[in-house]
């Protein structure tokens, strides 16, 4: 086994904002805090997943979340995932499965076998949990399979699997027809989680505190939306490269004052940059949208490469985990659990009504169209990570459908009679291929050749644009 072999350390990515630059130490800090808490044994630690709208419940009961996807991402970004992936493979798990999960299971198996952290674990390693909260959603299969597989190596650690469905978009059906019983079910699931955590912590839920934390999350949620909308400015003050850092408070720190304060600072920083006319790149030539896919965490430098060609990314669909609360058509309630359930449904169905209004549109496609217009986008970049079906199936079709129903670029072309004529064209797009953390799937040379060719297309569109 090549367990001890590590990849060369990647070059540090240049960030456009101070806020993004502060994220690395922040992540290191909260991973270190989990290790400290484990050693002290005063607070319970729980493995869990992002995007479950349950942070408020955990924090209200003083449970420290261990974000297992985050730890796998850290291993990927530090180019130190391979030895854990190989561990998982040696157990019989295929490399074609979610590599976050493989990395986590490989790590768990190794830690449990040794009775201590594997040698040189990234940032000290991932602490052993007291319990695990998995999630069955119509979002991600590995979320209900990962901890079950890890439990083989720590059968004494209980799992609570919370089911969080949402109505899938169906063109001929109004989701409001069904969301009453969805809401009822989700509320029961969240109450079940409260009961489970109460049992594990031997504490009762303080509902006043929960209400305060839900309110804090809501305010942070709205603040994130306001902050990110500032990126509509030309030139764009902050790109997707930075957003892959600022996703940390969104995904791992919601329901904390620190997350709120982080976005207060970021908003201020962006406002100042806008006032100074300062963009992510010095001479912004192309404005791109990261239209889908998780990033290759070991290759975030590719964003700098785009920047070096004059391309900025004012918006991304990935990790934009909020939508304006006041625009959500969800009932008001004083019960924090009921509110969490409505917010969950509101978030997932946010684009449904708009999509229904445009012929042949669909929520993911509709979001692309809206943001192309709002953020003045010239081209779309997506990333296909081979090991993740959750976020990476349907991307090809979304681009196909977008091109079919939306052709916003007036281009001069030479017609049959040799005269110049204006033709409406779809936005140029690029799909990069590799993985979230499996570096063996990535070629820097091929990726950059693809980026070069894409930039040439953008330039050709820029030069031949009719108006």
């Amino acid at each position: 086994m090549t367990e001890e072999q590590k990849e060369a350390k990647p070059k540090k990515r240049m960030t456009a904002t101070k806020a993004a630059a502060s994220i690395g130490p922040l992540v290191k800090e909260f991973i270190t805090e989990t290790l400290k808490a484990r050693a002290e044994g005063k607070q319970k630690l729980a493995y869990t997943f992002i995007v479950c709208h349950h942070e408020e419940i955990l924090r209200a009961m003083d449970v420290i979340p261990i974000w297992t996807e985050n730890f796998a991402g850290v291993c990927g970004a530090k180019r130190d995932a391979e030895r854990f992936l190989q561990r998982a493979e040696s157990l019989g798990l295929s490399r074609s499965l979610c590599t976050y999960a493989l990395c986590g299971i490989g790590f768990d198996q190794w830690r449990e076998e040794l009775g201590e952290m594997p040698p040189d674990s990234p940032w000290g390693g991932m602490a052993r949990p007291d319990f695990m909260i998995s999630s069955g959603q119509i979002l991600c299969d590995p979320r209900s399979k990962w901890y079950q597989a890890s439990q083989q190596f720590m059968p004494d650690v209980p799992i609570y699997n919370i089911d969080l469905p949402y109505p899938l978009f169906q063109r001929d059906q109004d989701h409001r027809e069904v969301w009453g019983y969805y809401h009822k079910y989700i509320v029961k699931q969240l109450r079940g989680l409260v009961a489970f955590v109460e049992e594990q912590t031997k504490k009762k839920m303080d509902y006043d505190r929960l209400r305060e934390l839900v309110d804090l999350s809501d305010r942070t949620w709205n603040l994130i939306d306001e902050t990110y909308r500032l990126r509509k400015a030309v030139p764009c003050p902050m790109g997707t490269g930075d957003a892959m850092n600022t996703m940390v408070p969104i995904c791992f720190m919601m329901a904390t004052q620190r997350a709120y304060d982080f976005f207060v600072e970021l908003k201020k920083e962006l406002e100042e940059k806008i006032a100074r006319g300062e963009g992510e790149v010095e001479n912004e030539k192309y404005r791109l949208m990261w239209g889908g896919g998780l990033p290759a965490w070991y290759a975030l430098n590719d964003f700098n490469y785009f920047n070096s060609k004059g391309a900025s990314f004012p918006v991304e669909t990935t990790y934009r985990m909020v939508a304006p609360l006041h625009e959500m058509d969800i009932p008001e309630t004083k019960d924090p659990i009921e509110h969490l359930a409505w917010r969950w449904l509101g978030y997932w169905t946010f684009w449904y009504d708009k999509a229904r209004k445009r012929p042949d549109s669909e929520p993911d496609v509709e979001r692309l169209i809206n943001w192309i217009e709002e953020y003045k986008i010239d081209g779309i970049v997506m990333h296909e990570a081979f090991s993740c079906r959750t976020w990476h199936v349907g991307l090809i079709w979304q681009l196909h459908q977008l091109g079919k129903i939306y052709k916003p670029i007036p281009l001069y072309v030479v017609g049959k009679d040799g005269k110049k004529e204006v033709v409406m064209k779809e936005l140029p797009s690029l799909i990069l291929e590799s993985d979230i953390i499996d570096i063996t799937s990535y070629s820097e040379v091929d990726t950059r050749n693809k980026i070069d060719a894409f930039i040439e297309t953008l330039e050709s569109y820029r030069l031949n644009r009719a108006y």
């Binding site: 499965l97 998995s134 069955g136 979002l139 991600c140 296909e384 990476h392």
Partner: protein, 385 residues
Amino acid sequence: MKIDEVFSMIENQFNQYGSRARQLREEGRKVIGYICSFVPLEMITASGAIPFRVRGNIHEPITLGDTLLETIVCPYYRSCFDLSIKGRYEFLSGLVIPHACDSMVRSYSVWSYSLPYSYFHFVNVPTICEESSFEFFEEELKHFKRSLERLMDKSIEEEDLLKAIQLHNQNREKIRALYELRKSDPPLLSGTELMMTLTVGSGLPVDESNEWFDRVIKAVKGRDASPLSKGPRILIDGACIDHIELVKLVEELGGNVVADTICNGARDSFPKTEESGDPIRALSHRYLEKLNCPKTYRANKAGTFEGDIASRFGDIGAYAKEFRVDGAILYVYKYCDPFGFEVPARKAYYQLIRVPMLHLEDTYSAGNLGQLRTRIQAFLEMIGG
């Protein structure tokens, strides 16, 4: 009907899969395609439409499908999509896709926007089995019922549902009877014959499927000898296997495929729906609780790993014992997260019940058969074939 005649007709229908459904469509019936065992067929039958299981084809390269659907999708599912987009199932009036795996959920729009059917429906199956999930699923089934009623322009009465439940239960009893014919050593019914028969049945109205199963049962019972020579008795474990190549390979190499725990075989066909009580509630329990799919999370109530796997995979052990198997083949498609993550636990379970197991990861392509042959041959030799 003589046995050769019966199997010649079965083989013909297997090769011309969908021909009867096409004919019925031409006669004015509505045929509703479905993918995966989680779609409550009784509901479609009760509506007056014909449920039709959409199949892939391992011999046909995926071409047009790859222009719209990523290659990281389950290869079996990609093949189904490829055939659909090529118009192979143009006789369908609609398609129902359940929440079974990410490949299905995340590509729902790809199917529903790319295919010319007027009816699409997504059945949101919960991932856990507890009181609140049954309540939710019952509401979801009522929603599905309303959607079919709109399509068929008729209401589905309780009586219709009960009748459909009885018909589908009869179908499952007949499938059980077909499996009984594999208990002798060597089995009276070969695995290849069974796979063809089951696949043909999944493309017919349930009453016609019942008639065909009766014909096969009668003909096989009249057989003097097994079509196979005695060999290691093999159980096939995995997801949906709608082709015969894997089983044929095992049998060509001297094995006898006598049991399975696959979606379109024993695992999802044996469980019946309760015929008493509220039919919607009965359906919710059959499809959510009784179908032992890895997609459904089942809590570890034992508190030990051994106890957990004994509970989750107990059906494998029971069939291994009942059909006296000598070895098992765990056949998992590449990119299948629900099954893929269970491989270490399933391996441990086979060790626990002392059944030798061969794990194969496949890409649902005839191009892989050579490789599979070598590995299966070595396995059969190892277990004494």
